[in-house]
Amino acid sequence: MIHMTAADAMHLALREEMQRDPRVLLMGEGVATKRPDLVRDFGTARVRNTPLAEAIIAGTAVGAAASGLRPVIDLLFAPFLTYAMDALVNSAGKLRYLSGGQFEFPLVTLAMTGSGCCVCAQHNHNLEAMFVHAPGLHVVMPSTPADFKGLLKTAIRDANPTLFFTDMALLYQEGEVPEDADYSVPLGKAAMRRTGTDVTLVSYAKTVNVCMQAAEQLHAQGIAAEVIDLRSLKPLDEATVLQSLRKTGRLIVVHEASGLCGIAAEIAALAVSQAFDALRAPVVRITGPDAPSASSWALEQAAVPQTDAVVRAAFDLMQDAQHSGVAMRHERTAANIPA
């Protein structure tokens, strides 16, 4: 194990995969500028700065992927993905299917998002669910440095186009990362971060830490929360969520992205359709609001699910089981929960 940041873990993954497979190349806005050691070791043919033009970066990656290369593209901030939508959604996501399986698109798209840097709505927009909704794409969003490394390596080796979302606030958090160049994290496999018997907290990216802190506080009050880090949003590890729910009977899903048609809605639907008999209380979603991200630190924080909100929701659920007549609102955004 080496102690390093998530950003360094990603860099290590890129280096190891470029070393391992000569087909891997890195393209994007400043990839050569920011990673001179990769240029030195792998050459300018494989580490390519591009024009600031997301549509052609993504389109070029799609064409290259279908022709035997394994491109990783850095589009910087997630809102810039909207410029690359045709290449990612209509080409990478659909042309394998439309061609009757003639092509594969092994490409990885990197994009940063998330609160904590006050970059406002055109640099911070958690739009991962948009890509989950697009067929043919895989979507991952890790929360620990080890997973940043392991999932990026898996995404590069995957034969499908993968959106790799990095939560900006996590990039410089440190943690233990396996040194092993063969270490990888499977797609579609959630991580059980903490076990418990009373309530299941499901999350991904930075709000996993929120759930971990909430679980700690709940523990002090005698409530045992289980925390699941989805890591991979598509494919989604339904089995781990359902298994936990069958144990606890209570489910809170937490994420920074807005709630409408989001990951939490999907998890809630999964719970209701597959484990209705196990539910001892309504499913709770705690999500960001249906509003663009603001730059102000105060507003940014108000939009993100906080530990207090998760603790309060868990208490409410435990209460609910005892007082079934108590009216409560089970759909909430972070902003409408008083601190």
Binding site: I56, T60, A65, S67, D86, S99, G100
Partner: protein, 324 residues
Amino acid sequence: MTATTIHTRLHQLETMLLIRAYEEQLVALQRQGAPGTCTSVGQEACAVGVVDALEARDRILTNHRSAAHLLARGADPKRLMAEVLGRVDGYCGGHSGSLHISAREFGVLLTSTIVGAELSMAPGVALAQKLGQGQFDNGSGGITAVFFGDGAACEGIFHESLNLAVHWQLPLLFVCENNQWQAFVHRRETMADEAISAWARGHGIATQRVDGNDVEAVHAAASQAVAEIRATGQPQFLELVTYRLRGHFEPDDQAYVDPSELKHWQARDPIHTLRAWLLDSGHVDVATLEAMERRVRTRIAEAMQFAQASAWPEPETLTTYVYA
């Protein structure tokens, strides 16, 4: 005029006739309830002239008007027709229909009906050829030809694609079939300039602008461009001035088309022109051409029979090929 020239022109005419007969069959099928289609009637010389200038190691990206490029490349009308009818024996197993047919075995890759998407993907295919690691790149020196229209040239991606191809020195032939129509809007309503190649020159790429209804002129220009790409590694741009004789999509009554303009271009039909040229040469007689027309009609009839006899895909295959 050599015997080889006559032989080449005869072969080109037969391919153009096959394309025309195939697309006219699709139009007839649409009238009988088959899915609609986008034809390239009137543009056959563009496809045949350019594709004839390519080699097996080269790659083609095309668009919603792809039948001519596919047939010129040697694709089987039987499997194309089966694809249009949504049958399992189509090149894409019925997943595509007429609008996005790819045939990897002929190097026709990544056909997209999103106008301009072919321009977004082509640099990546050419990059793989340049780096020599493309799985479809059978040997070195292959180039990519990307077919698009004046409509796609009005998309921003046109400029992004040209800029990248020039700056990265990609072996890429841009082929703009300027057919004067952008879906239901005439080009003169959308552009201040007449020529797409003028826009391309601004990116520092060598351009040629030729009569797209003259297969000989197209072939000569394409051959020169391809040779330049192979010799220099630099991209080239070809604008083929032509005309879409049918509507944007079948059915389309073309009520929006200026009849005098249509008549002008009908008189310049590339098939009629080539046929007349062959007869005028004195080396080809009417009987030869009629035999050719009969062969083409037979191939299309056989294609129809094949397609209609082909099975529908099983419903269980609905989600096959979504993921690798």
